[in-house]
């Protein structure tokens, strides 16, 4: 991997962007999943990645918190710039601690991914071990995150119950609360509503729309309807590359959406 980039040098973060992907390529056991991907993740905005299954959406998402490296035979090339202590630095740089990166770039998976613990401990366990909070601090932070994820009223009376007892929509909001509790700058969401019924999915979408004031959101979706409703920036993936980009203004007009449909389907 390349050495880090000192501030001011070419390849710094563009204005408004919190993360910048440059010439990213990812391959698994020699098979390319992504190649030549450039992407700016804008702050306080929702960037949506759409594309057919197998187009590399999830791999691109996981490249932003280096989660691809948990798989055997993964090779990553190119750079992903993110600020560390106010300076842009390649996240693959040795000076960028991967646990710090993953704390600041939180993730919510496609199906609710719960720790085998109680509802409360799902939030407090990472808080205590990642942020080093004591018990009382962690419980307070957990409460705030549950309120922000609009889950507090539903679970406040059974915080010690197993997290498995939550419904799908509640579990997914718990995952979102858990990611938010770690005070990230960026939230990655991999089709967060795909496993949910219509109402629960709508609840998640509404929640996400409100969250862009606090975080940079990167959302993978296969539903164009929700993409048009929610996205500030839309990135269309095809065969491991970015094949089109749209801004929110374009999407309001019909022809851009039609073009997008053509790109994706």
């Amino acid at each position: 991997m390349n050495a880090g980039i000192s501030p001011g040098q070419e390849g710094g973060l563009p204005p408004d962007a919190v993360m910048a992907v440059r010439g990213l390529g990812v391959s698994f056991a020699g098979r390319a999943a992504l190649s030549g991907v450039d992407l700016d993740v804008a702050g306080n905005a929702l960037t949506m990645i759409v594309g057919r299954s197998g187009s590399g959406k999830t791999t691109l998402l996981r490249a932003l918190n280096r989660l691809n490296e948990c798989f055997d035979g993964c090779r990553t090339t190119g750079r992903v710039l993110f600020s560390l202590d106010g300076h842009p630095l390649d996240i693959h740089d040795r000076a960028f601690p991967v646990t710090e990166l993953r704390r600041r770039v939180g993730m919510v998976f496609q199906t609710p991914n719960l720790l085998p613990l109680s509802i409360a401990a799902n939030l407090t366990m990472p808080l205590r071990h990642v942020l080093g909070m004591d018990k009382a601090e962690a419980r307070e932070a957990a409460r705030e995150a549950l309120v922000a994820a609009r889950l507090w009223d539903e679970v406040k009376d059974r915080l010690e119950a197993p997290a498995k007892t939550l419904s799908g929509g509640q579990a997914q909001r718990l995952c979102l609360a858990r990611a938010m509790a770690l005070e990230p700058d960026v939230l990655l969401l991999d089709e967060p509503a795909a496993s949910l019924d219509f109402m629960a999915a709508r609840a998640i979408e509404e929640l996400l729309s409100g969250l862009r004031e606090r975080y940079a959101l990167v959302v993978v979706s296969h539903g164009l309807g929700s993409a048009a409703r929610m996205a500030d920036h839309l990135v269309v993936m095809r065969r491991g590359q970015v094949s089109a980009r749209f801004a929110a203004g374009d999407l309001a007009r019909g022809e851009a959406l039609a073009q997008c449909m053509e790109e994706v389907f």
Partner: protein, 306 residues
Amino acid sequence: MTARPRPNRTAPGRGLERAARAAAWGCALAATLPVAFLVGYLVYEAGPALGGGLFFGDVPALPAILGQRPVWDGIWPACAGTLALVALTSALAVPLGVAGGISLSLFARGRRRRLLRLGVDVLAGIPSILMGLFGFALILFLRRTFLPQANTCLLLAAASMALLILPYVVGATAGALDALPDAMRLLGPSLGLSTWRTVAGVLLPSARRGIFGGVILAVGRACEDTAVILMTGVVVGAGLPSGLFGKFEALPFYIYYTAAQYQTPDELTRAYGAALVLLCLAVGLFLCARAGSRLLEGRYGMGEMR
């Protein structure tokens, strides 16, 4: 709990289905009847021997248990020996086996993984008498080299036994971890947890059911195996185990020895009694392990999971 779907009774092939169902019942009976027969026979034969005398002979119970007075006519020393052996064996094999399973499943890659797996499989295939011979040879080697006073003992027997049951624990741990879904594996890292935290706090608790299964099997094996201890330190009339480097008695060996050498019908009845006690001991350990697993489940808040 939801009701299980019933087979469709009007579908074609009903005769076949009926035959298959009868066969399934037959197989279930064929598996359980011998067990029932075995236990019944054991109870019948051991019945006259059951009581305090079986354990302590003519010595009062309390001084016998505390080891203040030696027991010559009872199986208490053998019980204590087996318990000590199983405890020591588990203390050696379970941490090592779980750690081995973790490294095999989560950290070993490519060639090293294949070699490790092969090693575990080979170890699992080694007959227990060879494990005993290995322990015996080890002592011979030590005596001829730098430890002339070394002798077969409880520690050696437990170490050999640990080697025997290690592959069960490694295999069960690796299997249970391998079976976890990818998303579960990614969860810890995605939260910024350290590798240690991910393994100890996310992956092991999620896989604990499979691991417990392997540990229970392994402990049961350590309870009953005779060939290993035969060559590594068990003797008749050793009394209560005196320490790691002392000789000891054990239930399976007592049963084997008495069955082969009994002089009176009474002795044989006592061997049956010992067999029944061994069975109860194994079942008791099994129940303890289950209770432990339940306790953990409570702690990890997974009581509702299957």
